[in-house]
Amino acid sequence: MTVNKRDPLTGHHTTGHEWDGITELNTRVPLTIWWFILVSHLYALIAWVLLPAWPGITDYTKGILGVDQRQQVERQVAMMRELRADWRDQMVALPVDEIRANPALAAIIAGTGPALYGDNCAACHGPSGQGGPGYPSLVDEAWLWGGDPDAIMETLRVGINADHPETRFAQMPAFDGVLERNQIRTVALYVQSLSGIETNPDPDQLAAGKELFMDNCASCHGEDATGNTDLGAPNLTDDSWIYGGDSSSLFATILHGRAGWMPSWEARLDEADRKILTVYLMDLKDRESVQ
């Protein structure tokens, strides 16, 4: 173990240590490394002077810039709110028809609506509003609580069966125990016949189904089964079904009942946002019907 041993390749001295054949050179730390250390430590020192950095016993150094992330966020939020204030006030003040007629506002809705809808509605109602099993389509003619702008605004505000104190409330009761199973099948056949679903029942069954319908269903869905938007009772004569119009789905709906849930958005979206969504939905529906 001679300290003076040299590595023949680099000419550097070794440290004289050896472990299982591994030796070490005693090369100086390259100057660049010291420079990088200097620069990175200067960066840290400057940051500590400028920004909140070191804790004391009860407080911390605030930094001479006086920066604080909470204030920064509040400032940025206020700035964005101011930037949007003009057109958002207009959105709240104007009725839907005028917003749709106003090219500037319509352009804002075309730019803002998709992301707002995508982040808040699309998860249930689908990316293009077509709905899915258990979730109503927003682009057909069927509306549980009405499809005019005021009704949509109200549904968005209070939700359906939601936790809002003024929420819309609707329930399809479970007829398990009220009707026999074969009675449920019979009334389901009648309901299917109303919307033209081909099941070829015999006339006696249809008549029995109609009687059961009048006794049990008509109070909400109406004697002509066209529903009632005041109660949120769906029209049963169209071809729109939230939970399915096939025999087994209808049977399950009548047997176990249904209680769909739409969240209330009042706490999460302000009135301007809800109005944008309403207009966006109406535009979506118009586009759909053009296609």
């Binding site: 299982d20 591994i22 070490e24 730390v29 990088f36 840290a44 909140p52 992301a115 995508g118 982040d119």
Partner: protein, 550 residues
């Protein structure tokens, strides 16, 4: 393996296994109906299986040769095989969940196969299963060789290795049953955590005792790193897992910390798991196998000192950079940023030290895929440690945080650095330990190298693209000041990158499968008579390093 133990040692092993088996029985009966009970049965059967293995050879002839003249390589052999088995599990599950992210139906609608349960199986399988076993095995290899001393114990190395694997089994099987502490990289519940503390303390004592009997005047750099790894991981693990079990008959526990303190403790742990498990431990590996394979002296001893103390000192401060723009006070974030930046230089110094060591051996890097594994690992170490410091800066973090960029960064470290250095170390160690001249097939090592490199590059490029696209889409406002994209738009935009990522992962996995096959074939072809290539004494004197009556 049991044949190398004396009768008394076999009895002690049986006693320990008996205690473990009874513990398993207690867990199984107390925790009946809970995941704890299932884990009780796992412990019970693990204990019983090993009792049969040891008990079956209890009266077999005792070893006649002088054991102190040989290094204790049996636990290392099993450790390397276990590391590769965990690599198959961890990488296999990892690629499965990668495909699942692109095609969610690959979940097959089972609860146990949901992303939230499989993802920790992947991370734990890789970090603790693959990485941990590789660290334990190579640390025993490196410590013995660089100290010229045999491991200080006959049973404790087995206890450490097998006990550790029991922990990983308890952790991963728990996740698929829904057992989790919800702390990233520390998901295992209280009883598994307590067991790991026991195992880890034995590991530390074993390591210190072996070091104490070294026949070298100085402690080699690799051992500094391995010791830092063992010591600090013990500290991190104990503090972050402080929790109160909701009941001693069930798996659920509640953390001792709450709110932002809990988050800070978790990321102090989480980042230093990266630092001391995934960096310090594997730097120990790099510091032995790279100069050994290149047959070159370490470029600079002084640089080793500078980078070791720099890494150890600065790393422990930087965990708060995982919590930028959160409820964590601003001043803690500033400290996290500044220490991350100061950390960069010592980190790069160790990568540079490794690369400069290769001066004079570049022709070997060209010809030898094993050395090339280690070279590329050092490059990826440098790259990802730079990327880490960069991402720790708050404005950069505001773009990168919560995006796939982070995922790409982690995998640049875990695939490019940790896995590649491990494969290099294993390819270097396997022929030595099994007394072979070389691996079964050098062509397969080449295949493994190029598949691993291609997989890593595809993976991280996919995640860079995906992450930056994602981050930019999240923060894009239109000219009236509202968000341009919905979250769903960003998910759609990521789909092609997710497929690319899964392909990259698949290439990496195929490489590892080839590697495992190559290792197994090397083991099969190992000659039965142990050719003594090296032994724990001064090679000239050839005297036993430890008293014969050990």
């Amino acid at each position: 393996m049991v044949a190398k133990l004396t009768f008394v040692e076999r009895q002690i092993a049986l006693l320990i296994l008996g205690i473990i088996t009874i513990l398993g029985l207690v867990m199984a009966s107390l925790g009946a109906g809970d995941a704890l009970g299932v884990h009780g049965f796992i412990v019970l059967f693990a204990g019983l299986g090993l009792i049969f293995a040891v008990g079956g050879s209890l009266y077999a002839p005792e070893p006649i040769e002088d054991r102190s003249r040989e290094y204790y390589d049996d636990p290392i052999k099993i450790g390397i095989v276990l590391a590769m088995i965990w690599a198959m599990i961890g990488m296999g599950v990892g690629d499965w969940v990668a495909w699942m992210l692109a095609f969610p139906d690959l979940r097959f609608d089972a609860a146990w196969s949901s992303f939230g349960r499989l993802r920790p199986v992947h991370t734990t399988g890789i970090i603790f299963g693959f990485g941990g076993n590789a660290l334990i095995a190579t640390s025993m290899h490196v410590m013995q060789r660089t100290s010229r001393a045999r491991l200080a114990g006959q049973i404790s190395p087995w206890f450490v290795l097998l006990g550790y694997n029991l922990f990983v089994i308890l952790a991963t099987t728990g996740y698929v049953m829904g057992v989790t502490q919800s702390k990233e990289y520390a998901e295992a519940e209280w009883y598994a955590d307590i067991w790991l503390v026991v195992v880890w303390v034995v590991y530390f004592v074993l390591y210190i005792r072996t070091l104490a009997r070294r026949n070298e005047p100085h402690i080699y750099v690799a051992n500094w790193y391995y010791l830092a790894f063992i010591l600090v991981v013990a500290m991190l693990h104990i503090v972050n897992n402080l929790a109160v079990p909701a009941s001693f008959t069930a798996a659920k526990s509640y953390s001792l910390f709450s709110g932002v303190q809990d988050a800070m403790t978790q990321w102090w742990y989480g980042h230093n798991a990266v630092a001391f498990f995934l960096t310090a431990g594997f730097l120990g590996m790099l510091y032995y196998y790279l100069p050994k394979r290149a047959q070159r002296p370490i470029y600079s001893y002084r640089l080793s000192i500078l980078s070791f103390w720099g890494i150890v000192f600065f790393y422990i401060w930087v965990g708060s950079h995982h919590l930028h723009y959160t409820a964590l006070p601003h001043w803690v974030q500033t400290l996290g940023v500044t220490f991350s930046v100061m950390l960069l230089v010592p980190s790069w110094a160790s990568a540079g030290n490794a690369l400069m060591t290769l001066n004079g051996a570049w022709h070997k890097v060209r010809d030898d895929a094993t050395l090339r594994f280690m070279f590329v690992a050092a490059v990826f170490y440098g790259l990802s440690t730079f990327e880490g410091s960069f991402m720790a800066i708050r404005p950069v973090n505001s773009l990168s945080h919560y995006t796939d960029w982070t995922v790409g960064h982690v995998h640049a470290g875990s695939m490019g650095w940790v896995a590649l250095i491990t494969f290099g170390a294993i390819y270097a160690a396997v022929p030595l330990i099994w007394r072979r001249d070389d691996m079964y097939s050098w062509r397969l090592v080449e295949w493994h190298f190029w598949l691993a490199l291609a997989g890593t590059v595809i993976y991280i490029f996919a995640m860079w693209n995906s992450g930056i696209v994602q981050g930019l889409m999240w923060r894009t406002y239109n000219d009236v000041g509202t968000l341009q994209y919905s979250f769903m738009d960003t998910v759609v935009a990521m789909h092609p990158y997710y497929i690319a990522r899964a392909i990259g992962g698949l290439l990496f996995l195929i490489g590892a499968v080839i590697g495992f096959y190559n290792i197994l074939m090397t083991i099969r072809a190992a000659r039965s008579e142990d050719r003594l290539l090296d032994h724990p004494t001064d090679s000239e004197a050839c005297e036993p390093a430890v008293p014969v009556a050990e």
